[in-house]
């Protein structure tokens, strides 16, 4: 049985841990709120952009123009680029390990079918993991989540877009944590390139615009913007998911610490009681010996 002093020391150290994990939970909760606001703030832009693209496609279809664009071109898959989005920091449950595991599975899947795979790593956790294991990494982006900027999404897209147009890669996929809610995050694999054009619904009686430059040039430019937007959404989602995962993990840790402290307090009281009982019986027997 542990001595009284040892138990007291353990209680004090676990109380410290509890304070730290609880503070981390509060910070994660605040960051989560901001991340959710960012997701909401981006919606009007995305919707408007999709409407404009929809208008343009509906006009182009009526003129029987085939949609041809390097980014829409489907080729035989020989080289794949996977964008793996993890976090920069740990202590967030299975957030990073889920992404790393799914990425590894996708790499194995493509290698089995004879394609080679290159990675773009976003987030330090994933980057360190894949560098250590000697994977082929085209580019990595570290410490971007603290101050998330749209420009980062543009840079990432730029990186794989020109590889795709130069036919150095035939497919681009992104692996990331999708933010469903504060308690549910799931790892998603989405295809970024080739783009799958969405056919807009209804709205065919939309009156035509004057275009500058030509329709087709505008369309190409908008596809690029659309891709930037998708990447931006992925970054925002992953950021929110990371904070939510960390919040949950830290809440669990705090809870566990509380339980542990309760148990130790019980042990401490028992130990103290034993000590007191021993002392009393020693005094009593000492006094009895004197009287005797």
């Amino acid at each position: 049985m542990a001595t009284l002093r040892e138990i007291r020391r353990r209680i004090a150290s676990i109380q410290n841990i509890e304070q730290v994990t609880d503070a981390m939970r509060v910070v994660a909760a605040a960051r989560l709120r901001r991340a959710q606001e960012n997701i909401i703030a981006t919606r009007p832009y995305a919707e408007k952009l999709n409407t404009i693209i929809g208008h343009l496609i509906s006009q182009m279809n009526t003129e029987e123009q085939a949609l041809t664009h390097p980014l829409l071109e489907t080729r035989e898959i020989k080289h794949v680029c996977i964008v793996s989005v993890s976090g920069d920091r740990g202590l967030c449950g299975s957030f990073n390990s889920n992404v790393i595991r799914t990425t590894t599975q996708r790499i194995a899947h493509y290698q089995e079918s004879g394609a080679d795979v290159t990675l773009i790593c976003i987030g330090r956790r994933g980057q360190e993991h894949f560098v250590r294991r000697g994977y082929d990494i085209t580019d990595s982006y570290i410490n971007i989540f603290r101050q998330l900027e749209f420009q980062t999404a543009v840079d990432v897209v730029h990186e794989f877009e020109h590889l795709y147009i130069d036919k150095k890669i035939d497919k681009v996929e992104v692996v990331y944590n999708n933010f469903r809610s504060a308690i549910l995050q799931t790892v998603l694999v989405e295809q970024l390139l080739p783009l799958v054009p969405e056919v807009p619904e209804g709205d065919t009686h939309f009156l035509d615009y004057v275009y500058e430059p030509s329709q087709i040039e505008l369309f190409e430019m908008l596809l690029g913007k659309h891709l930037n937007m998708q990447m931006w959404k992925v970054l925002l989602d992953s950021n929110a998911a990371e904070q939510a995962a960390r919040m949950a993990a830290m809440e669990n840790a705090t809870q566990k610490a509380k339980e542990l402290i309760d148990e130790l307090i019980l042990q401490r009281n028992r130990a103290r009681q034993t000590q007191i009982t021993t002392e009393i019986s020693e005094i009593v027997s000492g006094a009895a010996a004197l009287e005797g």
Partner: protein, 136 residues
């Protein structure tokens, strides 16, 4: 002088930059700068790196730097979707200058792994920010 106004909305992926009724807006189209007044026909164009000038009345105007986007005119109003936009007064000049230096060094060093289009784009953005900030 015509003083009719129309509705204008300027958005970036991160936030709403401007919303309100204006009498004119000037923007950097890929085929040259242009100005839109009330009653313009539906028009869709791409924007280049440059400056957008918003006039709420003939006396007042506000200036912002943008790095390009889409400009749509409908009967109901004008929507501008730009990837970045900053009011002239909000531009961080020292940051833009350091970005300018960085891009210039990259371009002069011309390292083999240099991503030339990206560096050139960064250079153009930084130059534009500095220009707009000095035109306050």
């Amino acid at each position: 002088m015509l003083n009719r106004s129309f509705h204008l909305e300027i958005r970036t992926p991160e936030q709403l930059i401007y919303e309100g009724d204006v009498t004119s807006v000037q923007a950097p189209g890929v085929e040259g700068n242009f100005q839109i007044l009330a009653g313009h026909i539906p028009f869709l164009t791409a924007l280049d790196v440059g400056e957008i000038r918003v006039r709420e009345s003939s006396e007042t105007s506000q200036l912002m730097a943008t790095s390009g986007g889409v400009f749509e005119v409908l009967r109901t109003g004008v929507t501008v979707l730009v990837e970045t936009a900053e009011w002239a007064s909000e531009i961080d000049v020292s940051r833009a200058e350091s970005a300018l230096d960085r891009a210039q060094t990259q371009l002069t060093e011309n390292a083999p792994d240099l991503n030339r289009p990206r560096a050139e784009a960064a250079l153009a953005r930084a130059k534009n920010r500095i220009k707009v900030a000095s035109n306050l």
